[in-house]
């Protein structure tokens, strides 16, 4: 019974989230632009699916992913983490880094927006960009970003140095990558951090900040989402660059054989 009541209130808030956008878009389309909507039934059904699906997902994330993340961070931390005087070395949290990498990689693979965009990219590129290749490259990026964020919180590195390092790598790759892929690569970070990844990242950040007495959860908890959004550009560009190298290598071998 509790579950049904909780579902009701979550559904109410997701409806408030989805419907204004949908109404605004339909208003512009039908009234301002005076277009007739094709497949009206599909659009209405699709919007209902989005609203109900989002509510179910948020409820599930709250009941499963969030508590699992908090629980794991607490259990995987070294025994002396709570001790303010001993201040354990940042390397003694290696199990947490490993867990953070694995769970955010898995969460990004499950991300519905990344799935939908990867499929659209596959269609648009005529199959040249592989759906799974893009999803895995983006998920590795999110995972690397969050792991870097965890190391930063534990070791107390200022956020702007981490961001500066990431920016530099992206700038170098921008000059050396095929230009066609650049906009998509910059976009993947935002695309792969929506409903599944962000709660997992929040659980990790909160869990870590609570664990470390020297860290203020309010001041040190931020920055993880930013790194999770920036680093996928690096991995997607690297994926494109590696694919290009393989192509060149195959071409050269063909020429040598001929």
């Amino acid at each position: 019974m509790d579950l049904i009541r909780e579902f009701g209130s979550t559904l109410g808030s997701t409806a408030r989230d989805v419907l204004p956008v949908a109404v605004f878009m339909l208003f512009v389309y039908c009234v301002v632009l005076r277009q007739r909507l094709a497949h009206t039934r599909n659009v209405v059904a699709g919007l209902a699916f989005v609203t109900v699906g989002l509510a179910l997902l948020l409820l599930g994330v709250d009941k499963a992913l969030f508590p699992a993340g908090r629980m794991m961070v607490e259990q995987l931390s070294p025994a002396d983490a709570h001790d303010a005087s001993a201040a354990p070395a940042w390397t003694s949290f290696h199990l947490i880094y490993l867990f953070a990498f694995c769970i955010t990689f898995a969460a990004a693979i499950a991300e519905p927006t990344l799935f939908a965009v990867a499929q659209r990219v596959n269609e648009l590129s005529g199959g040249a960009i592989n759906t799974w290749g893009l999803r895995i490259a983006a998920a590795v990026g999110v995972a690397l970003g969050v792991t870097l964020g965890c190391i930063r919180v534990v070791a107390g590195i200022p956020l702007h140095w981490c961001l500066l390092g990431v920016f530099l790598v992206i700038a170098i790759q921008t000059v050396t990558s095929p230009r066609m892929i650049l906009p998509l690569a910059y976009d993947t970070g935002g695309v792969s951090t929506t409903v599944v990844t962000v709660p997992v990242v929040a659980a990790l950040g909160l869990g870590l900040a609570e664990l470390l007495p020297a860290r203020n959860p309010l001041l040190d908890g931020f920055g993880m989402v930013a790194l999770a959004c920036m680093v996928p550009a690096i991995t997607v560009l690297a994926y494109a660059q590696i694919a290009m190298l393989f192509e060149k290598w195959a071409e050269r071998r063909e020429r040598d054989e001929a």
Partner: protein
């Protein structure tokens, strides 16, 4: 209905890595009894059902609606309408975004803890409202710049790299309490509703304009949405700290 069955199977496959990771760390690394994970089962099933519906709904409604709207706006040929629509969509969805409201409230508490503002309910509320307004303005400008870029075929890379240079410079002069929230705000505003809409808008616009390519011109607006709030918030906080 058969399509929906396939979606459920696909979601089960996509969620499998999460379950495997949690099981591995719980049972093998920590050696805990598996029964302690049973309370999480209900939530996991909800996630699977929710993801399947969401992916199905995105492909049925949000992607087609976004692309149809972009096509219609391009056919109409009114540049002013296009820009106004992009700005309103960005500003409206961001100002109403619940995730941003929550983060803004948290950022206000962080600023009070850091001594940047007074610790009174009024000061906290006006600080949070200011943050939301600036971020919404930034996203509106990001979408506007995004569609203008697609219409004129401007390259994206100089904008992004220039933005990063500016962000780095601002990070050294902005108050330290704002850097964290500023860099996170872009990621917080890209939600499961706005990302498909913005992507579909870009693809639809690029494919209905002659001389534009959906792959190389259509993407990039989400990247601007990630970047702009960071610049706007840091600039806003810097100006406030000077006054």
């Amino acid at each position: 209905m058969r399509l929906f069955g396939r979606m459920i199977l696909g979601t089960l496959r996509d969620m499998a890595p999460v379950v495997v990771v949690v099981l591995f760390f719980h049972s093998i690394v920590l050696g805990q009894p598996i029964s302690r994970l049973f309370p999480l089962l209900e939530g996991t099933l909800l996630v699977v059902a929710g993801l399947a519906l969401l992916v199905y709904g995105l492909e049925l409604a949000l992607f087609p609606l976004g692309e149809a709207l972009a096509n219609a706006l391009a056919l109409r040929g009114s540049f002013l309408w296009l820009v106004a629509f992009a700005f309103l969509l960005g500003f409206g969805t961001t100002f109403a975004e619940p995730a941003l409201t929550a983060v803004a409230a948290e950022a206000a508490r962080a600023a009070a803890a850091g001594g940047a503002i007074e610790h009174t309910p009024d000061a906290l509320e006006s600080y949070a409202l200011g943050l939301r307004f600036v971020v919404a303005l930034a996203v509106g400008c990001a979408l506007t710049l995004g569609v203008i870029r697609i219409v004129f075929g401007w390259p994206l890379a100089p904008m992004i790299i220039g933005g990063y240079v500016l962000a780095t410079a601002l990070a050294f002069v902005a108050p330290p309490t704002v850097i964290g929230i500023a860099s996170d705000s872009g990621g917080v505003t890209t939600s499961v509703v706005t990302v498909p809409l913005v992507t579909a808008l870009g693809i639809g616009l690029a494919s209905s304009l002659t001389g534009r390519n959906a792959m190389s011109d259509g993407f990039g607006t989400v990247a601007l949405v990630l970047l702009m709030p960071m610049l706007f918030l840091m600039a806003y906080a810097t100006i406030l700290s000077w006054i």
